[in-house]
């Protein structure tokens, strides 16, 4: 039965997915990626601002230290994390995945946001200080709005890294907290692969990312080119 160019399209594979456990894995991906992004921004953006503006001893060492989690391939941390998680009862939990993603994404947020804050002129905040603003006010009302394109870029990168993670989800989940990238592999049955479901699931995994990218694309472009030309 050779394949033909003209065929009857079907949504049956999507219908099958909706009725399967895949929906749960998609929900797990959404919850873990969104939670990680929010938490990483909440913790990482002020830290990035601090590294950009504050002057303290060992600043260089501390900022380098934050990058250590990204200095080795993830597999190097796999077994230790599994053993620790087993003892803490965090295997196969969403919170376990969020903690792991946060561990690896926080340094990215700190370093990216630090660079964006470096691009915001200090004189604007100094003017605010003269008008009586404190550090918090200057950060929230002056620096953060000006670094908004950077914030959007950082957010989407953080989201993507968590959303697309395969390795830690494979390692640290079983059936409850399994995320979509791992669930999709389980359509590879022993006897044959369910290509229709693989294609439908891949489309469902891509859709939120594409939608998010479209929504924030102008910020991304602005964020990526911020500071490229001085003036």
């Amino acid at each position: 039965m050779p394949p033909t160019l003209l065929f009857s399209p079907t949504l049956q594979n999507y219908a099958d997915l909706v009725e399967s456990k895949f929906v749960r894995s998609l929900m797990n991906s959404t919850v873990t990626a969104v939670s990680t992004t929010i938490l990483a921004l909440l913790l990482g953006v002020p830290a990035g601002y601090a590294f950009s503006r504050a002057r303290f001893r060992a600043q260089r060492v501390v900022s380098l230290w934050t990058l250590t989690t990204r200095m080795a391939p993830p597999i190097a941390f796999g077994i230790p994390f599994f053993l620790i998680y087993k003892d803490l009862g965090l295997i196969d939990t969403r919170i376990g995945l969020v903690i792991i993603y946060l561990t690896f994404n926080l340094s990215l947020v700190i370093w990216m946001m630090r660079a964006f804050f470096d691009g915001v002129p200090r004189s604007l905040e100094e003017a605010a200080y003269i008008d009586g603003a404190g550090i918090a006010t200057a950060f929230v009302k002056i620096a953060l709005p000006l670094a908004a394109p950077g914030l959007a870029t950082t957010a989407i990168f953080t989201f993507l890294l968590s959303w697309n993670d395969f390795f830690y989800s494979l390692l640290l989940t079983r059936s409850e907290a399994i995320t979509a990238p791992v669930a999709i592999v389980n359509f590879m049955n022993y006897e044959s692969w369910e290509w229709g479901k693989v294609a439908a699931a891949a489309t469902m995994i891509m859709l939120p990312v594409v939608a998010l990218s479209v929504v924030v694309r102008k910020y991304i472009v602005r964020g990526l080119t911020a500071g490229a030309v001085k003036g």
Binding site: M1, P2, P3, I79, F82, L83, K86, I91, D92, L170, L171, R174, S175, V182, V185, N186, F187, M188, N189, Y190, E191, S192, W193, W195
Partner: protein
């Protein structure tokens, strides 16, 4: 009065907790109702497979009968390999019943991660021996899971290598029946192969396919497994086998024929783009799926060809075992008895197309025989014959603990040779060297060659 030290405080806290836990521990109220494990929750890991789907279909009846709640976690084979290895190595008791993966059985049993099943089988309170009928499992399927008389798993899947082929194409080329030797198959392939229709197709798990040639030409992975694991990939026999096998892949397979997963290889047969397909029965049997092909009436099945040293079809077996770290071992045994039982296996063969089963009684069943006879090919008999042949002991090389990394290296070597990246001689020499390194690193004493 002695002072309360931190250590004494901790000790008394632990004792108190233990006493109260014992005090509140529920007795077994269900023992009198004939459901001693009622309320137990079992977690099972196994590969995504039609047999597991069959278990799920009938699980409600099992749960109703025993009161055990079962969660079957089905996953793809690569995920299963990784996950089970990690769970077992870390001593996690998260899964009570697990799939004994053939090529990992040596390591897992050797490490003491699988609970011996004999105490369960021999306990009349736990097992009706006549109903379980351990002797009904074909010896070749049971062999990898036994050490002496100790049984560590009950097999539910045994994949035997066979050939599915197009009778019309072979007849057209002058072959009334499928070639019986690899030499004859090569001759036939040279005559039949065209750009439109390849002579041969197989799947990409080449450490599973290549041994059909390797052993038949008198070669082997190791000198004398399990005692002497010196790799033997640089022998003249191994080189000849590699040359014959990689020629089939390079010259007589469809484009990309080195890297085809089983479903693509099957699709190639469905579409009439190959004349024969060599693979495990569980895969090969699908080439006659009439929903996917109009060519089913041109297909038949037979044994894999012989080589100069004989016929060595391959057999991969998977079973259920109780995780040593499980806290619900008796309930886990209850599940295994049911899942690998005669009734379930027969039902699965008849309703889920599970021919690659492991019980003689199922393969001898008249309904099964009838269902799996296609144009004169009796698939159940083919499968049974391979299991019996493999039971003679030559498959032991796949269950030595060090097989998985060596097997992976074999795939790399076959791929490199078949794709023309290296010659047969250099590829096998390099394979030999790397295999020696892998084994020595694992602490295996080998007799280095040359």
């Amino acid at each position: 009065m002695s002072r309360i030290t931190r250590r004494r405080f901790l000790k008394s806290t632990i004792v108190a907790a233990g006493v109260s836990a014992a005090g509140v521990r529920p007795s077994r109220p269900h023992a009198q109702t004939g459901k001693p494990y009622a309320g137990t929750r079992l977690k099972v890991s196994q590969v995504a497979h039609a047999y597991a789907v069959g278990l799920l279909d009938r699980l409600p009846a099992f749960e109703q009968q025993t009161g055990i709640k079962v969660e079957i976690d089905q996953m793809s084979f690569p995920v299963l390999n990784q996950r089970e290895d990690l769970e077992l190595a870390s001593g996690s008791g998260a899964y009570d019943v697990m799939q004994m993966i053939f090529i990992r059985s040596g390591r897992w049993i050797g490490a003491g991660w699988a609970e011996p099943l004999n105490p369960f089988i021999d306990d009349a309170r736990l097992t009706d021996k006549a109903a379980l009928d351990v002797g009904d499992f074909v010896a070749g399927a049971m062999a990898p899971f036994k050490r002496g008389d100790t049984i560590y798993a009950l097999p539910w899947l045994s994949d035997s290598t066979v050939v599915g082929y197009r009778t019309d194409l072979f007849e057209k080329a002058g072959y009334a029946k499928f070639p019986e030797t690899f030499e004859a198959l090569h001759e036939a392939a040279a005559k039949m192969h065209t750009r439109q229709t390849a002579a041969f197709v197989t799947e990409d798990n080449l450490h599973w396919i290549f041994p059909n040639w390797l052993l038949s030409y008198g070669g082997g992975f190791f000198a004398n497994p399990p005692g002497d694991l010196t790799p033997t990939f640089d022998t003249p026999e191994a080189l000849k086998a590699a040359e014959m096998f990689t020629t089939m892949l390079a010259k007589y397979s469809p484009p990309g024929g080195i890297k085809l997963d089983p479903s693509v290889a099957q699709a190639i047969m469905h579409q009439g783009k190959a004349a024969c397909y060599l693979d495990g029965m569980g895969n090969t049997q699908h080439i006659i799926d009439t929903k996917k092909t109009t060519l089913a009436d041109q297909m038949a099945f037979t044994h894999t060809p012989r080589g100069p040293k004989g016929h060595f079809p391959q057999l991969a077996v998977h079973g259920y075992f109780i995780n040593k770290a499980s806290k619900n071992k008796n309930a886990a045994w209850e599940f295994i008895k049911w899942a690998a039982g005669k009734d379930q296996m027969l039902w699965s063969a008849l309703n889920k197309g599970h021919l690659a089963c492991t019980r003689s009684s199922v393969l001898a069943n008249a309904e099964v025989r009838q269902k799996f006879t296609w144009r004169g090919s009796d698939l159940a008999s083919l499968h049974l014959a391979v299991m019996k042949r493999a039971g003679e002991g030559y498959m032991v090389y796949r269950t030595v603990p060090q097989f998985p990394p060596v097997g992976d290296r074999v795939i790399i070597a076959m791929t490199a040779i078949a794709s023309g990246q290296t010659s047969v001689g250099d590829g096998m020499k390099s394979l030999q060297k790397d295999a020696e390194g892998i084994l020595e690193k694992a602490g295996v004493k080998i007799n280095r060659r040359g």
